[in-house]
Structure formats: structure tokens, C-alpha cells
């Protein structure tokens, strides 16, 4: 019993990390209708920037975290301005392909700047496990739970109550109409990329601490896709729940099947997702659109 509970707690903690990454994905989709396949690249870039500031430059770790978030925000704005601004109003498929281009480019940039060998972030948290509900969990996971809780609370309130949050929802629904009622679609695009990049950087710092900082961190963007789809593409709470389900499923898969099938945890989410999508094609929290003709 306690073993299962322990797996569950660890699964939820890992899931919290996934849900943070999924959040950035949902943010961009919710605001701009862009299915951003480069979300993982933003995460990877965030982790490397943190590495650069804290190790290469030698800033105190907490200063470098804050600076990383600022830089990530700026990078989000910059990427939107340079690569996506011209695509406003284009088909969603074309913009999706742009994000594929971005993914390839950013991976190349990271490889040129930092090479193929992975780096480690400074160990700012003790490696001594702490006890949550009878399960021994590394402090970093506890921290990620807290970070996830804060980020989600902020964004649920953000979309519901702030004017830019509402503007983002309107833009996703129909860019032209949003523009006609005085919403600056450009600003919405810029903001959503900036915020998504920021959340990705938070995810990057956490993942970089748990694992290490390497170029293949950008695969996290694809790893959380099952969580995003499971939660429904445009649902913020859905991203949280999807992320946690993903974490738990993956952890249990590794714990109980991993000894026979090495690495099975990497594909289990996809297998489950495929089966699930065939039953609930729009995710658990997604909106079913009635097609008109």
C-alpha cells in the first residue's frame, strides 16, 4: 500500500513539472491558436540561459533565475516579432510548420553554442529526500509542485479576470473579429509568446536541475503533448490535470513494467493517449465544436 502511495506521490510531483511545460503550450494555443511544436526548444533554451548565467558568468543562483526569466520573456517577444509577426492571419497549419522550423533552428543554435555534452546546474537544493505523505521525495519535486500551483493559480485568474486575458481568448476565437473590436492582435501574440517562454524557462530550470542541461531537453515539448491533448488543447486546468496524469502513468509504467521493457515509460503515454483519443476525440476538457456547413 505504502509503496503504491509513494509511487503516486512521486508521479504527481513529476507530473507537476509536465504540467508547467504543458501550461506554456496551452497558453500559446489558447491565445493565438498556434500549435507550438517549439515549446520544448524554449524550455531547453531557458535551461541553458540559466546555466550560462549561473555557471559561466558566475552570478548567484537566485539572481540568475530571475535574470533567466527576464531574458526568456524577452526571447519570447523577439521570436514572435521576428518569425511569427508576418504570419498573423495565415493558416494554422502554416504557422505550425513555422514552429517546426523554429524547433530545428533552436536545436542547431543550442548545439553550436554549448555543444553536445550536457551540463549541470548548481545544486541549490539538498539531495536529502524529504517526506511528503509518507513518501520520500527529492526537494526539487516539492518545489516544482509549489511552482506549478502558483503558476496555475495565476493563469486561471489571468484568463478569467484581466483584460489582456480576455483579449487573448477573443483572439484565439477569431483574429479578424478581435481586431475589429479594438484588440491589438499583435500585442496578444507578443504577450502570449513572452509568457509561454517564461513558463518554459521555469520548466527548464526545474528539469535541468532534476536531470541535466542538454540539447535533447527540447524533446520535453513532445513528451508533454499527451498531457496537453489529454487535458484538451485550450484548457488551463486541463493542462494541470493532464500533466499530473501523465506523470503518474509514466511513473507507474516505469515502476511496474520497466524491468521487462526498458524505457517503456517514454511510450506508454502515447499508447494510452491514442486509445483514449479514439474514444474522446477532443480530450477530457476540450471543447467539441459543432461543425457547420
Amino acid at each position: 500500500m505504502s509503496v503504491i502511495l509513494e509511487h503516486l506521490v512521486i508521479g504527481i510531483a513529476v507530473g507537476a513539472v509536465y504540467s508547467i511545460v504543458a501550461l506554456g503550450f496551452v497558453l500559446i494555443y489558447k491565445a493565438t491558436g498556434v500549435f507550438n511544436l517549439a515549446q520544448g526548444s524554449l524550455l531547453c533554451l531557458g535551461a541553458y540561459i540559466c546555466y550560462f548565467l549561473s555557471i559561466t558568468v558566475g552570478l548567484p543562483f537566485y539572481v540568475s533565475i530571475i535574470l533567466t526569466l527576464v531574458v526568456a520573456f524577452a526571447i519570447g517577444l523577439l521570436i514572435e516579432f521576428v518569425f511569427l509577426r508576418r504570419m498573423i492571419g495565415q493558416s494554422h497549419l502554416a504557422i505550425l510548420m513555422i514552429t517546426i522550423g523554429l524547433y530545428l533552428m533552436l536545436r542547431g543554435v543550442v548545439l553550436i553554442a554549448w555543444g553536445v555534452y550536457s551540463k549541470s546546474l548548481p545544486s541549490y537544493l539538498s539531495a536529502e529526500p524529504i517526506n511528503i505523505l509518507g513518501a520520500n521525495v527529492l526537494p526539487i519535486f516539492a518545489l516544482s509542485l509549489v511552482a506549478a500551483a502558483i503558476l496555475f493559480a495565476v493563469f486561471i485568474l489571468f484568463f478569467r479576470y484581466t483584460s489582456i486575458g480576455v483579449a487573448m481568448r477573443a483572439t484565439q476565437d477569431n483574429q479578424q473579429v478581435a481586431q475589429s473590436v479594438g484588440i491589438s492582435v499583435k500585442r496578444v501574440f507578443g504577450m502570449s509568446w513572452a509568457i509561454a517562454s517564461l513558463t518554459a524557462a521555469v520548466g527548464g530550470i526545474i528539469v535541468g536541475t532534476i536531470l541535466s542541461v542538454g540539447y535533447s531537453l527540447d524533446d520535453f515539448g513532445f513528451k508533454v503533448l499527451p498531457a496537453v491533448i489529454l487535458g484538451g488543447l485550450e484548457s488551463v486546468p486541463g493542462a494541470l490535470i493532464g500533466g499530473i496524469i501523465l506523470g503518474v502513468v509514466e511513473h507507474f509504467g516505469a515502476a511496474y513494467l520497466g524491468s521487462w521493457l526498458i524505457g517503456i515509460e517514454d511510450v506508454i503515454p502515447y499508447v494510452i493517449l491514442l486509445v483514449l483519443l479514439l474514444i474522446v476525440p477532443y480530450g477530457i476538457f476540450g471543447l467539441k465544436r459543432i461543425e457547420r456547413i
Binding site: 504570419m87 517546426i100 542547431g108 548545439l111 524533446d219 491533448i229 493517449l273
Partner: protein, 349 residues
């Protein structure tokens, strides 16, 4: 399509023909003869590059049909290429089957796996469909990497050179002809599929699936057919490339590779067969040009050669973005403009 001066279509047959004028026939024949002569004047290295490029074109014709024509976005194309490569290699090296049977069988095998993945397309559309092809990419590669007893895991396995009668096509020169003829057949088949009834149904589904259904097109059947054809091309391309190299490893079939396939058809132009040729050849030329440039640079800056892969990623990503932004119809469209200009030259307008 505009015809040259003094050429008129008098029958529907003439109007439907691909190769219409005598000049076009001559050019086509000349191109084929030129192609057949390529091994006579190129070195082995160059020939290997050309063979690889041709087999990529065959596989890319598949994603063009599936994504460019039928509109079913696939981000797992290289996994289907892998299915073809591994099936063929297994059939030849383990079961001792002849290469000539193994390659088509590999195509069918990849097509059937594609069909399985395509089943999800019955209920899923657009972004949600990406997930199923992405899942296919990860799951297929998981199986290949971890089924070590059969596939050799990450060390890979060998794919022997083909034999016909007593002749072994072990040399690059002789293998070139196999791939060249395969490419001719593949192009012919692809072109005919897309310009007849089946192709029209694909485009109808891409442009307006609801209307297509109301006009009597069986959505499920045609989507599955597109998956089968697209993945079968991938499988054959993969099998041909595998036997050319002699050794296959899983790292040639990553997600990034799948993105490259998408990139080929974006650069060449979605929904055109010529575009596939333009896209693949353009990228291949870029890649090899860059490789040569960096290797010449490495005499001055040692280690410049190791920059090739990441630099190529940056350039390729950038080129995709530039094409999407400035020429979404790809190189094929530029070619059309050029042809229209040249047809009337020197009396344009």
C-alpha cells in the same frame, strides 16, 4: 496550363496528357538518357550522394501524397521509412529472400503500418492528428531500438546488396541504375495517382472534407488509402536507401528526420510532384555545399567540420521559415513562373 504558340488541344486526350508537345518528349527522353549516363562521369562519393537523394525523393513523394495532397499532416514519416528499411533488411539477411521481392514487400509492410496509424485519422483531424503520427514515430522507433534480438538495437543491422542471377549489384554504379529506375516508376505512379480520380478525391478531402463527403467521396476509405500509399512510398524509399548503405541504425530515423521530410515538401511546394524533386534536391545541394565549404574551412579552423550538423539544422529551419513566409507555394511555383516566362520569350506580353 498554357500551351506554346501554334499548339492546340483538339481532343480531351490531348488536354489531359502530361507530356504534350514534341519538345517535351524530347526533353524527357534527354533527361532519362542523361540520368542513365550519370555513373559514367561521377565519382563514387558523388554517386552515393545522388543515390541517397533519389531514395529520399521516393520517400518524400509519399509524404507529398499523404500531407501535400490529402492534407493529413504526418510528423512521423521517417518512422515509416524505418519500417521499410528494417523490413527489407530483415527479409534479405535473415529470411534469405531476394532483394527484388523484399523491397516491394517492405513497401507493403510500411503501408500496412501506416494504415494502422491512419485508423486514428477517421476520428481525429488537424492538430489532434499530429499526435497520432507523433505517437507512431515514437512507438515504432521504440520497438526498433528495444527489440535488439531482431533489429540489433542501437547498433543497427546489415542490409546486403542485391543479386540478380549471378550478378551482385555491389558497386555503387550498378546500384545507381536500380534506384534510378525505381525513381522513374515511383514518379510515374505518383503522378498518375494524383491526376486521376483518386488524387482528386485526396485534394477534395484536403480542401473541404465535409463537402467531399456530401459529394460522395468515402472519407474513411480515401484517408486510409492515402496513408497506405504515402507510407508504402516511404517504405520503398527506405528499403532502397538501406541496401545502398549496407548498414542501418535507428538514429537515421528520428523525429528531426521526419521534420526534414515535411521541410522538403514545404520548400518544394505542397501538392505538386515536381515540388518534391525541387525540395529534396535543393536541400541536398545545400547540405553537401555546406559540407564542402566547412571541410575546406577546417584546414584553417580545425574542428569546423563538426559544425556541419548543427549549422545545417539552423539553415534548414531558417529556410523552411523563409519559404513559408515569402513563398508558401514553394520552388515549384517559381518554376511555373519561369516556364511561363520562357514560353513567350522574347515576346512576353
Amino acid at each position: 496550363m498554357h500551351l506554346p504558340c501554334r499548339t492546340f488541344n483538339e481532343t480531351y486526350e490531348q488536354d489531359m496528357a502530361i507530356v504534350r508537345t514534341r519538345l517535351q518528349w524530347i526533353l524527357l527522353a534527354a533527361a532519362i538518357v542523361f540520368g542513365l549516363c550519370i555513373p559514367l562521369f561521377t565519382g563514387t562519393y558523388m554517386l552515393t550522394v545522388i543515390i541517397t537523394t533519389m531514395s529520399i525523393i521516393i520517400a518524400a513523394l509519399g509524404i507529398q501524397i499523404l500531407t501535400g495532397y490529402c492534407g493529413q499532416l504526418s510528423v512521423g514519416h521517417s518512422a515509416f521509412v524505418a519500417v521499410g528499411a528494417y523490413s527489407s533488411a530483415l527479409l534479405v539477411s535473415q529470411s534469405g529472400l531476394s532483394f527484388w521481392i523484399a523491397v516491394p514487400v517492405a513497401g507493403i509492410a510500411a503501408g500496412l503500418v501506416g494504415l494502422l496509424v491512419g485508423l486514428t485519422s477517421i476520428r481525429l483531424k488537424g492538430f489532434y492528428l499530429i499526435i497520432s503520427t507523433l505517437a507512431a514515430q515514437f512507438i515504432i522507433m521504440y520497438v526498433i531500438i528495444h527489440w535488439t534480438s531482431v533489429t540489433g538495437g542501437s547498433f543497427g543491422m546489415s542490409a546486403p546488396a542485391p543479386k540478380l542471377g549471378g550478378i551482385e549489384f555491389a558497386t555503387t554504379q550498378s546500384y545507381f541504375y536500380i534506384v534510378f529506375i525505381a525513381l522513374l516508376i515511383a514518379t510515374y505512379v505518383a503522378k498518375n495517382i494524383v491526376r486521376t480520380n483518386v488524387g482528386r478525391a485526396f485534394i477534395a478531402i484536403r480542401d473541404n472534407d465535409l463537402a467531399a463527403e456530401v459529394m460522395g467521396i468515402h472519407l474513411t476509405a480515401y484517408k486510409l488509402l492515402a496513408f497506405f500509399i504515402g507510407c508504402a512510398f516511404a517504405g520503398i524509399g527506405g528499403a532502397l536507401a538501406a541496401h545502398a548503405r549496407g548498414v542501418i541504425t535507428p538514429d537515421s530515423y528520428t523525429l528531426v528526420q521526419s521534420f526534414w521530410y515535411l521541410g522538403y515538401i514545404i520548400i518544394g511546394g505542397l501538392g505538386t510532384i515536381t515540388g518534391v524533386f525541387f525540395g529534396v534536391i535543393f536541400v541536398s545541394a545545400l547540405n553537401n555545399g555546406l559540407a564542402m565549404f566547412l571541410s575546406s574551412l577546417s584546414t584553417i579552423f580545425p574542428g569546423a567540420g563538426s559544425l556541419l550538423a548543427p549549422l545545417m539544422l539552423v539553415i534548414f529551419g531558417l529556410v523552411i521559415i523563409l519559404f513559408l513566409t515569402f513563398e508558401p507555394r514553394g520552388l515549384a511555383h517559381r518554376w511555373q513562373i519561369f516556364k511561363a516566362y520562357y514560353r513567350l520569350w522574347p515576346f512576353s506580353y
